[in-house]
């Protein structure tokens, strides 16, 4: 009988062989054995992304970082960021700022076209900025544009934007996408001016982009880029190994380690402030000594070693190294791993035997889960019993971020624009996004001062003081800026890293 079972298995094998033969003949694309060689399909690229793009593709509506990361290739603002962290004119070719720092006048670049073939006019720009600043539903689409008091087209090529008060950072908001006037299908069929145009999407499966031939700048190298949605990191790994995927960002070190031959690993930074965020209004974290004790109890280097194979850069406050002048490296080692000190502080605060706490982690972010697991282990040494609670991203947003119903959480916060303020504004006592309920009068005063100081050096110093304030008061247990490990198939070149969370596809090309 057993023989028959084996015979059955052999038949199955034959059937498989038959089918594979079949596939090779009937299909127009080459058989898989050949198509594994990516050279067979020139100038196309398959990139894996961990989550499907967000509900709406409308750039003024998107919230998810993963969506902005990709749509960076489709949309452009009046200005756009460079890998060095500068802002260069994009849809505009030139600009002037009035002496009172409230009026920005942009001259539009000649011959910039939308993906639908229309030429960008001043009307489109006015409409787009208004759309951000406005008004119709009573709430502004992009929060930062609420400061805009007037947008006007001075002529066909010139647009003036006026804001209520001088604001050093307003300029960086002008990376907001310029869209064709009165086009209302942005959420499902987006149209922008970027080097790639949106072709199609299939939910939970893929998003296809194609090179925009009429791009005003250096055209993209690839004809076509397919973004494949692979939520399961394990099948993702197999897809890389099998040759189905050419590039994938945000890989974990243990998975990257298994991709030897066909790939090289590019290392950038994720530009996130990863921390154990503590609800400062919740017992026992309302006591600064307890928070400091946690900072001493957590061994950040060990986190990097255990969960990230040593990749990543340590931070000591709400700022990461890619921000250059704003980053204060002296804070990085403000707290060093010291179990005794932690215990003493805890005893001082009235918790000699530690306490129980819950760390809420969004379940779709492996790096944060891993970090939380290591932290929970390390806290045992000082008698703190930390329990992980994994929640869906949606629940995290509503309960932790908006509802502030949590004790502690491990996440990475990003900067929406390339300004120090983007990382520091949320800790002002009354800030809407101050989900950790941080309260410090000194901080509020410093922050207010920073907003009205226009001398760059002075302002930079104020921002550094803010960072120091957060470190001294142990607002959160700051851990690291994660390394961004990108698996790149050998032969693929031109990957550039940015100090914000974007993936620039336009410079990628197959060598030779």
């Amino acid at each position: 009988m057993n023989k028959r079972k084996i015979a059955g298995l052999i038949t199955t094998g034959l059937l498989a062989a038959m089918l594979s033969g079949c596939g090779g003949d009937a299909a127009q694309t080459p058989a898989p054995q050949e198509s594994f060689q990516h050279q067979a399909i020139p100038n196309e690229l398959t990139v894996a992304i961990a989550q499907d793009l967000d509900d709406s593709l409308d750039p003024h509506m998107t919230v998810a970082a993963g969506t902005k990361e990709i749509m960076f290739n489709v949309f452009e603002g009046l200005v756009k960021p460079t890998p060095d962290g500068d802002l260069v004119p994009a849809v505009a070719s030139d600009y002037t700022i009035s002496d009172d720092r409230t009026t920005y006048t942009f001259t539009l670049r000649d011959g910039v076209k939308f993906h639908n073939g229309q030429t960008v006019t001043a009307d489109d720009v006015v409409w787009s900025i208004r759309r951000c600043a406005d008004a119709e539903g009573g709430s502004s689409l992009v929060e930062s544009f609420s400061a805009v008091t007037d947008v006007a087209a001075l002529d066909d090529k010139t647009v003036a934007i006026t804001i209520a008060e001088p604001d050093n950072e307003f300029f960086s908001y002008l990376t907001a996408a310029i869209l064709p006037k009165d086009y209302d299908k942005q959420d499902t069929a987006p149209v922008g001016t970027g080097p790639f145009r949106y072709v199609s999407r299939s939910a939970q499966d893929n998003v296809v982009l194609e090179r925009f031939e009429d791009y005003w700048g250096t055209p993209a190298k690839m004809d076509r880029v397919t973004l494949k949605v692979m939520e399961n990191p394990d099948s993702l790994l197999m897809s890389l190994q099998s040759g189905a995927v050419d590039l994938c960002a945000h890989m974990t070190s243990s998975r990257v380690a298994q991709l030897e031959e066909d790939f090289y690993i590019a290392e950038g930074t994720m530009n996130l402030v990863q921390a154990l965020y503590l609800n400062n209004a919740e017992k026992p974290f309302d006591d600064v000594r307890v928070r400091q004790a946690l900072c001493y109890a957590v061994d950040r280097q060990q986190i990097l070693d255990l969960a990230f194979d040593g990749y990543g850069s340590l931070i000591g406050s709400s700022m990461y190294p890619a921000f250059g002048k704003y980053f204060d490296d002296s804070l990085t080692n403000y707290y060093t791993h010291d179990v005794e000190k932690a215990k003493a502080l805890l005893a001082d605060a009235g918790y000699p035997d530690g306490f129980d706490m819950t760390i809420t982690v969004p379940s779709n972010y492996t790096p944060h889960i891993d970090t939380a697991q290591v932290i929970a282990e390390q806290l045992k040494a000082v008698g703190i019993n930390a329990k992980l609670e994994l929640v869906e991203w949606g629940t995290w947003l509503s309960d932790v971020y908006s509802g502030r119903q949590f004790q502690s959480t491990v996440v990475g916060l990003d900067a929406s624009t390339m300004t120090a303020r983007a990382l520091l504004a949320r800790f002002e006592s009354s800030a809407k996004r101050n989900f950790i309920n941080y309260q410090s009068e000194e901080y509020d005063a410093l922050y207010a001062k920073a907003q009205t100081t226009f001398d760059d050096a002075q302002q930079t110093q104020l921002y550094k003081d803010l960072e120091r304030n957060l470190a001294e008061n142990a607002a959160n247990v700051y851990i690291q800026d994660l390394a961004d490990l990108v698996a790149v198939r050998k032969g693929l070149e031109g990957l550039r890293f940015y100090p914000i969370y974007v993936l620039d596809l336009s410079t990628l090309e197959w060598a030779g």
Partner: protein, 316 residues
Amino acid sequence: MKYAAKRLATLLVTMLLVSLLAFLAFELISGDPAEIMLGTQATPECLAALRAEMGLDQPLMVRCLQWLMGFFSGDLGTSYHYKQPVWELIAPKMAVTLCLSAISFLLIIVVSIPLGLLSAGRSGGRGEGLRTAVNQLCMAVPAFFTGMLLSWVFGVALKWFTAGRFPDLREDFWGAVQYLFFAAVAIAIPRIAMTVRMLRSTVNSEMGKDYVRTAISRGNDRGAVLRRHVLKNAVVPVVAFLAQTLAEILAAGVVVEQVFAIPGLGRLLVASISNRDYPVVQVIVVLLAFWVVLAGTLADLIQQRIDPRLRLGGSL
């Protein structure tokens, strides 16, 4: 014919009931869809506006009727997450899942029916213990584990197919079938084991009956008896079993699609569950339920064709 008509009527009523249940369950428990849609950006005014736009300010019964009417007239609603009509979202995935199920089902039939018949009537042989062990072992391996191994061995190491590159069903049908084949094997193995076991015990119990003994003792060829009499009687419970299998294939597919990164209904269902995209979940659930009920009805109809006694009444 009367029986068939009655059965079809029951089918329709069941379908109606299932859709009603799905609507009510999700409506009552899932919370406010407008709030979910707006997420962190919700303000009371926005919420009210959206509720009105979605018709949520209407009474429950009205909405229920609207949903049902919409459902049966082909308007399946709009996904919260993708802002697309649910039907557009589901249709291409459904094709993939149907293909996968069909291949799995074919595999199960092609492999297990000969195996089951061959192994029947030989109980107590020398291989008995081993056979039972292999059979039970096949049922013990989770389908996704088999899938994991298959996709690693054939998709990564041997490169018989490219794990993670599922060809578009319309552009490269055979390529897609080939890809699905390996997933189908993972789904089929435990079901094959079950079907073989089921067939074996059915045929065996039939073989023990008096009429078979008589037929054989009269000098009829054993094989001929098996073919002519036993099979006809054994087939009734087998058809019911296969209908159940059809439903289970679908369930196993949900997980295996994930392993092989196949863009089918299962993946959409799982993703929609974690996105709280209830309109999509609702529709998929109802469709799956239809599928299951339909398979059951079909099995019943086939059974009563084969064995008219069943028309007289009662369930088995």
